[in-house]
Amino acid sequence: MRRFGTVTGLALRELWISFRLLLVVGVLVAAAVPSAMLPHTTPALAASPLESPLEWFAIGLALALGVVGGMAGAALSRERRRGSAGWLVIRAVPRAVILLGWFAAFVLLLVAGLLPAATLVWLTVAAPASDVGDAWPFLAPMIGTWAAGAAAVAIGLLLGTLLTPWPAGLLTMLVTAGLLLIAVVGIAPQLSDAPAPAAGLAILGDLPNQARPVGDALRASGSSLVVAAVALILATAVLGRADL
C-alpha cells in the first residue's frame, strides 16, 4: 500500500511538473464553458439544433474524457520508454502497482476537473431549470461521467503498455472520445441505453427527457467501472510481460 501511494504521488508530481495536470483539469472545465456561458450571452447559439445546453456539456465532456484517456496512455508509455518504470521495478515496486498508481492519479484528476465543471453547469443551467433542492438527477449522471472517464483512462493505460507514446495517446483519444460521442449524440442507441458504459454521458445530455436518471446513471457507472477493471486486468497482464 505504501508503494502504491508513492507511485501515485510520483505520477501526480510528474503531471504537475509537466503541466499535464493543469491540462487535464483545464479540458474538463473547458467542457463546461460553452453550455454554461454561451446560451446566455449568444442567443444564436441558444437556438442551435442541440436540444439543451446539457447536451453541449455532454459533448464537451466526451471530447475531454477522450483527451484525458489519451494523456494517460501516452504517460504510461513514456514511463516505460524513459526507464522510470524500470527504475521502480528494480526497487521492488510490482508492475501492477505502477499501473494502478498511474490509474489512481488520473482518476483523482478526473474528480478535480469534473467537480468545478459540474458546479459551473449546475449553477448556470441545471439548477434554474429544476428544483434546486434535488441535485441527484444531475449528480448521478456526473458520477456516470466520472466512471466513463475512469474507463477511458484504463483503456489508455492498456494501450500505453502496448504502443509508443504518440500512437497510444492518439488511438486512445480517437477510440474513447468516438464511443462517448456516439453515445451522447444517439447514433447507436445501444451505447446510450442505461447499462452501457457510456450511458452516463448520454443521460446527462438528455437529462430533461429521462424518466429514471438516477438509477440508470448509477447502473451505467457500474458498467463503466467493469470496463475499467477489465482494461486494467488486461493492462497488468501485458505490462507483466513487457520489456522495461
Binding site: T6, L10, R13, R82, R91, A92, D243
Partner: protein, 250 residues
C-alpha cells in the same frame, strides 16, 4: 573448493524480432568475483544484465541471483541485495539527488534514521554536495550517473550489475567510484570499452554471437601477454579452445 555462486544462468535465451541476442548462455559468477562482461555484438552483454535485473523477459532458460531464483514478486528484502546501474538512469529528471536517494531508501523499507545515515554517507562518497537539492537534470549526465550509482549502492547490495556506467566522468574519478569495496560483493560489469576497466575486474567473459565464448580469470590474459580488449579476450578463447573440452552443441 568451489566458491558459492552469486549469479547463475542456465541456457538463457533472448530473441528480438527473430534475431538471437542470447543463445543458451550458461554463466556462473562466484561470490566476490569482479567480472568484466563484453560481447560481440555490443548489445548482448547489456541484454543479459537487463534480464538479470528483471527489465527484459528472456525467451528461455533460467537464472539465480544472490542465491534466489529471480521473481517479480520478490520482496524488498531480496531486491535490496541487488544493485543495477544501466545506460539510462530512469529516475525522474525533476527529482533532486537527495530526493532520489530518499526514494530509493524508502522503497528499500529503511526507516527515516537509517535513510538519513545512508544518504549522508552517499553524498560524501559520491561528492553530490553541489546541486544536492536542485533537479538532477541541471547537473547534466555526470551528476545523473553519480546519483544512479549512489542510489544503487544505497542498500549495500551483494550483487552489483553495471551496464557501461559512469561514462561521463573522467577516468580517475570513474575508477575511484567503480572500485566498490566488499570482499563478498559480486560485481558484473558490462562494458563496451574493456581496456578502460583494467584494475576493476578479476575475471573476464565474452559473449560471442549470443553464446558464452570464454569465462576466464583476468590473470590468464596477463600471463599470455594479451591486452584487456575484446580482441585480447577473443584471442585467449582461441588459445584455450583446444585445451577445453566442449560439450556437444556448446
Amino acid at each position: 573448493m568451489l566458491r558459492p555462486a552469486a549469479v547463475v544462468t542456465s541456457g538463457l535465451r533472448l530473441s528480438v524480432q527473430g534475431a538471437k541476442v542470447l543463445d543458451g548462455v550458461n554463466l556462473r559468477v562466484p561470490v566476490g568475483a569482479r567480472l568484466l562482461l563484453v560481447s560481440e555484438p555490443d548489445d548482448a552483454a547489456s541484454a543479459l544484465l537487463r534480464i538479470l535485473v528483471g527489465l527484459l523477459r528472456p525467451s528461455g532458460g533460467s537464472f539465480d541471483l544472490a542465491g534466489v531464483p529471480r521473481s517479480d514478486e520478490a520482496d524488498a528484502g531480496w531486491r535490496r541485495r541487488i544493485g543495477y546501474v544501466g545506460g539510462e538512469q530512469g529516475f525522474y529528471p525533476w527529482l533532486s539527488p537527495r530526493e532520489i536517494l530518499d526514494l530509493a531508501g524508502r522503497l528499500a523499507d529503511y526507516d527515516r534514521a537509517e535513510r538519513r545515515r545512508r544518504i549522508d554517507a552517499a553524498i560524501e562518497h559520491y561528492r553530490l554536495g553541489p546541486g544536492l537539492d536542485k533537479p538532477v537534470s541541471r547537473g547534466g549526465p555526470p551528476l545523473a550517473q553519480r546519483v544512479a550509482l549512489a542510489a544503487a549502492m544505497l542498500t549495500d547490495p551483494e550483487v552489483l550489475l553495471l551496464d557501461d556506467p559512469l561514462r561521463s566522468l573522467d577516468a580517475a574519478e570513474r575508477l575511484r567510484l567503480l572500485a566498490v569495496p566488499g570482499r563478498r560483493r559480486t560485481v558484473v560489469l558490462g562494458s563496451r570499452y574493456p581496456a578502460s576497466e583494467d584494475g576493476l575486474v578479476d575475471q573476464v567473459a565474452l559473449l560471442l554471437n549470443g553464446r558464452l565464448n570464454i569465462h576466464a580469470r583476468r590473470a590468464e590474459l596477463a600471463d599470455r601477454g594479451l591486452p584487456l580488449t575484446l580482441r585480447g579476450i577473443a584471442s585467449l578463447a582461441v588459445m584455450q579452445a583446444p585445451a577445453v573440452p566442449r560439450a556437444a552443441g556448446a
